[in-house]
Amino acid sequence: MRSKQLGTIGYYGLLIILALICLGPIILMLTTSLKLKTQIFDDSFSFFFMPTLTNYVAVFQDERLGRDLSNSLIVGLVSTVITLTLGCMAAYALVRFRFMGRDAVSITTLLLRMVPPAVLVVPVFMIWTYDLSLTNTLTGVIIIYVALNLPFVIWILQSFIEQVPPALEEAARMDGANPFQVFFLVVLPLIRPGLAAAAIFTFRIAWNEFILALVLTNRVTRTIPVKVSLFITEHNIEWGQIMAIGTLIAIPPLVFTFVASKQIITGLTAGAVKG
């Protein structure tokens, strides 16, 4: 009996240590963003300090930060909406129809999902600059983020659409609905959980992405991750201010995680468990 109790204590003890390892660095970022410069460089460890918003006030004094944030928000939201719309239509076609080229499309999509963004940097820069004149526009960033996210979204929505009973669609068709009505009015409402998971992943990738944004944007259109990288290459690193921006970048994904951890875990594990 006693050893069982000890086991339980050890069990929770290990879980709590792991949770602290995961959370510690994130909390450190948050607390640093609330510290004054002198407190950050004070090498005696201090857990207790007076939080101050000085760093946040300082970073927002730069008017460009507001624009960078709104660029990120626009890019994130617009690319999420477009990716989801195009993605669920494509996934529906792949699940519910038998047509020529279906397997080819499906395999190509799977393989395209694996392409590293670093591989795309050079050719996309070239095409966007010289063929399409899309560099330094938000549209250009949005298009590449939609392309980058589509394979994953198509693939994850397929498994949700497979679960919709075909009888429902059949009934709607009997009532005279055309394929697009069947899709938008019958299928879409039923796969809302899948759409939520897909939306979170797409927004997160678009919001967090750095290297393509670095190459494809300028001072006016840059997104917030690019802004941070400019801070860090300066010689005198203002850690308080950097951590304030870091916290701003981290907030939306963290909020999503707390609100929809179930959908996120579905999205993360879908690939490996079901195959």
């Binding site: 660095p25 494509a90 395209l112 694996m114 670093a118 591989v119 750095f210």
Partner: protein
Amino acid sequence: MSVRRKANRSTPYLFLLPAALVMALGLLYPVLRSAWLSFHDWKLGTPPDAAVFTGWENYIFLLEDPKVLESTLVTLTFAFSVVALEVVIGVALALLLERPIRGMTVFRTIFILPMMIAPIVVGLIWRYMYSEQFGILNQMLKAIGLGGVPWLSSPDMALISVIIADVWQWTPFIFILAMAALQSLPSSALEAARIDGATPLQTVFYIKIPLMMPVIIVATLLRLIDAFKVLEVIFIMTYGGPGLSTEILSLHIYKTAFVSQQLGRASALSNLLLMIVLCLSIALFVFNKVREGQAQRTR
């Protein structure tokens, strides 16, 4: 009736077309364009028309340049180390902590936080923690009477430090997958082992791990593919340094293109990275097909 059948035949293409167009423009065409570019000499800032066809020159350069070799070695060391560590630690923790308890959802939510925040922010946090004078890691070492470690400034240590940061971020992924796999193990096998008097350790090594193997293999391949994509965390933490000690291929591509301004060579490098990832993807794909086949036979 004939009208309707005609509509039916084009319907799937109409549904597919918009997504296919965007993927063709943003993924497929760039990959092909990169293949074309890798046979040309093109400097940044000049129009593509100025690119000169140079045949295999860029690829020969790849083979001869010691920097490329070193960067490839760094990439392989990084990718295989992080994945090995993550799989071993993640699976071990899952086996230790497997037990349905209240509050597990809360812990699971906390464990996925490191994967959700931007890689660039992960890079920032770890660069800050690794700081030699005021970083929390050296402060803790000093507090227990040990000397500071040159986390990011020594070439030997920098790659290890970068690996630690990735292990911090991605071990939870393996842990959560392994947990899910454990929970879906057939209870009959575990029951049989118990009746036969298997010790817990025997159950782990002879029953649980073999049954989890398919999930472990898929997770390993997925993580390997991702490990070859890593760029931002290292960009912020070390920018490839000191020297070339953390210069992974993706970062080397970026620098070749936008620092050295050799876009043709950068494309050849891109194709090298793409080939590695493509091989891994095909391995994953084939493995999944075999697995599906087996599942259907047993059913």
